[in-house]
Amino acid sequence: MSRALPVGLGEVRLSRDQSEQLCVFGLGSCVAVFLYAPSVQAVAAAHVVLPKSPQSSPGDGSEPGRYADRAVPLLIAEMARAGVPKSALRAAIAGGAAVLGFTSAIGEQNIQAVRRELLRLGIPIEQEDVGGSRGRSVIFDAGQRRLDVRVLAAPNVNI
């Protein structure tokens, strides 16, 4: 049976166990980023909250995945520590919804920032489920290297 590893706001996690699933529950305007490689069990995940880190603040290191421009390089470093070269990496991303309407700008900015960083660092996006107006829960199966996305079922959405 798979073991679920939740990835909280601003967190970065690495899994080297194919029986594990990296999970981001209740994702709104945030974007979940997963890096993996074919035939390799390691998977790294970040729960990105905002697109760009403030220039003035280096952060206290407690939320290394909070900003897209810091999270993606950090994920690459985590995978390198696990022995996976950057050239082998693939990405899966999900989230960036406009849940209450007014958050549309943040969600879209997060999506674009993550895409831009991945492009800049030469990592192709293989799996993607972004945008829209509904929250998601996202599960990445380390063994299958597959992204699964859950949204509220229709009876709940319709109350």
Partner: protein, 172 residues
């Protein structure tokens, strides 16, 4: 951070709206770390009706009220009778949420000798964690958070909600 209204004072206002005696109480009023927020209203995937108000003048005060779906349905039944449709239930939550959240914003303004003008309420049905984290992401850096559990005893029904008050800390 100042924490806004006394829920007990809202009882008579809501009783007028609902047509039954209402007693409000709060549990667990607490200042919390931002990263703990998505789990505040239960599991992040909990289907909930969310009602959101902020200050029209952009002074950084926001109130988010979350009703778990069974509580939202109970509120709809109470206001509109059994068998209310989804849109009617959403309207009921928006109306009650507007009263509660608006009162918190108003009392916060009084406490700070300032003026806050609530925006019209936004509402949605979604995962609680998705709504909370989206509001959080849209909040300026330096925002303080206070959360309360609100219990409404309306007639023979008990309806629970989580209220989250976000406010820019003074001096920011």
């Amino acid at each position: 951070m100042r924490q806004g209204a006394d829920p007990h004072a809202l009882g008579p206002v809501l009783a007028d709206l609902l047509g039954v005696p209402v007693e409000l109480s709060e549990q667990g009023r607490q200042a919390i770390a931002l990263r703990e927020l998505p789990n505040l209203a239960g599991p992040p995937e909990e289907p909930s009706v969310a009602v959101y108000l902020s200050d029209e003048n952009g002074r950084g005060a926001q109130v988010l009220l979350l009703f778990p779906l069974p509580d939202a349905r109970a509120l709809g039944d109470l206001m509109l009778g059994e068998g209310a449709g989804p849109e009617e239930i959403l309207d009921a939550c928006r109306e009650i949420g507007n009263v509660i959240a608006g009162r918190f914003l108003s009392d916060l303004a009084d406490a700070e000798s300032g003026r806050l003008t609530p925006t019209p309420p936004l509402s949605t049905v979604d995962m609680a964690g998705a709504v909370i984290s989206s509001v959080l992401a849209s909040s300026p850096s330096g925002t303080g958070v206070v959360s309360l559990r609100i219990r409404m005893h309306a007639g023979d029904r008990r309806i629970c909600a989580t209220l989250i008050l976000l406010r820019m800390e003074a001096g920011r």
